[in-house]
């Protein structure tokens, strides 16, 4: 019978491969069982220890949040009171009311993009209309104020750069502002052609902020470039009633 022949042949090969276990094997096993650790004890303890360590690490990461800091995140409405307003007019001025520094966010000096956003998304209605852009100078900072007349934009990015050159959109042409450094303000969920009729290129003559120019108003995104006489720290925040985006450039 083929099955039996196959089985017998295979058995012979296996016998040849394995031989017999040494006679000492049962004693080896018995002694190792007698001297071995208790049932499951070490694994159980190791499991509990590993779980505790994992919980501590997760707790430290959760509380400390060392890898996901967002120092530049600012939510509209959390800033100073609505009565505190930025300086008005494109002319150099220090007569306007200023916001108390103690309640404002600190200036930041890194080159990464600062992120200023609204807590409720998507905005209702979806596009915020810019109706005014003002600049002003104050003790310690030059200020740009962008005012919205209906709602808040969905997102704002503030990006410092080492040159005052910007790319206009949608034309793609490069434009170089006055000064030697720049800041790009990107406002998403906004337009500047519905309610704004002011200047799109403001030359200030201030010590640090020397020019502000619109570089994009297209497909719900508005960009303004700031030309600065030198690289400087900045802070960004919102004021309310009406909603205003405020960018302060630190001055000596």
């Amino acid at each position: 019978m083929p099955n039996e022949n196959f089985r017998r042949e295979l058995g012979n090969v296996f016998d040849e491969m394995t031989g017999s276990p040494s006679s000492a094997l049962p004693d080896r096993v018995r002694s190792s069982l007698a001297s071995g650790p208790e049932q499951r004890g070490p694994y159980w303890i190791a499991g509990v220890a590993a779980t505790l360590i994992a919980l501590v690490v997760i707790g430290v990461l959760f509380v400390g949040n060392p890898l996901n800091r967002q120092p530049n995140k600012i939510v509209p409405g959390t800033g100073p009171s609505p009565t505190a307003s930025a300086a008005a007019s494109p002319s150099p001025s220090s007569s306007a009311q200023t916001t108390p520094d103690s309640s404002l966010p600190p200036f930041v000096c890194n080159s990464s993009t600062g992120f200023v956003t609204k807590a409720t998304t998507p905005p209702q209605p979806p596009v915020a209309f810019i109706d005014q852009v003002r600049v002003g100078t104050h003790a310690g900072y030059d200020r740009v104020t962008i005012e919205f007349n209906n709602t808040d934009p969905s997102q704002v990015d503030v990006t410092p750069q080492n040159s005052p050159s910007f790319t206009q959109s949608p034309s793609g042409q490069s434009v170089t502002l006055s000064g030697s450094a720049g800041v790009l303000i990107t406002i998403k969920g906004a337009d500047e052609h519905t309610a704004y009729s002011g200047s799109t290129d403001i030359k200030t003559g201030y010590s640090v902020l020397v020019e502000a120019r619109q570089v994009q108003d297209f497909e719900g995104t508005v960009q303004w470039g700031l030309g600065m006489s030198k690289p400087a720290c900045y802070r960004a925040f919102f004021l309310t009633n009406p909603t205003r985006l405020v960018i302060d450039i630190q001055t000596p």
Partner: protein, 178 residues
């Protein structure tokens, strides 16, 4: 001895589960020989096979409370631990000293020639492919125990046995294997 142990199994199982190492040693003693043969085929090395069986015995002792089913479940459960220990031993081998198997003496006879061909074909199989063949053809485990030792369904076990056997003898039919 196996029959005697089988009769005492429930009692031995109880005392082993209660922590009596001697009872456990008595329980697995009849299984050491098939366990060794399984390990020797998988590892192709006799001393490594004994080491694997010893290590597997300790692990089985630690995990005894995880054993489910009646006393008949002990054999496939223990053999599955041995097979797993062999897999681990093979993974560790890349950095350890490789012991070559004994060189067989050359005997020229027609029967030996057929056996040598079969052995050569067997050695070409991976240890995972040899495993169902050892369990079914060499240790004579029924299909359901092979399945439990492999931790697969009986249908999958049957398929693995047939596939591996076909690699040894391509002309085998399923009826000839089972």
């Amino acid at each position: 001895m196996l029959a005697a142990v089988m009769e005492q199994r429930p009692q031995l199982m109880q005392s082993a589960a209660a922590g009596d190492a001697d009872s456990f040693a008595v329980l697995i003693e009849p299984l050491l020989d098939p366990a060794y043969r399984l390990a020797a085929v998988m590892l192709d090395n006799r001393s490594s096979a004994e080491d694997a069986v010893q290590e597997a015995s300790i692990k089985a002792w630690r995990k005894l409370r995880q054993l489910r089913g009646d006393a008949k479940s002990l054999r496939p459960w223990f053999l599955s631990i041995v097979a797993n220990e062999c897999r681990m031993a093979r993974r560790q081998r890349w950095w350890s000293v490789v012991k070559l198997p004994e060189i067989p003496s050359v005997v020229s006879s027609p029967e030996h020639g057929a056996t040598s061909d079969l052995k050569a074909a067997l050695l070409k199989l991976s240890p995972e492919e040899r495993l169902p063949l050892v369990l079914h053809f060499y240790l004579d485990l029924p299909l359901d125990e092979v399945a439990r030792a492999l931790r697969v369904s009986p249908a999958a076990a049957k398929s693995r046995i047939y596939r591996a056997a076909k690699r040894l003898r391509s002309d085998l039919t399923q009826e000839e294997v089972f």
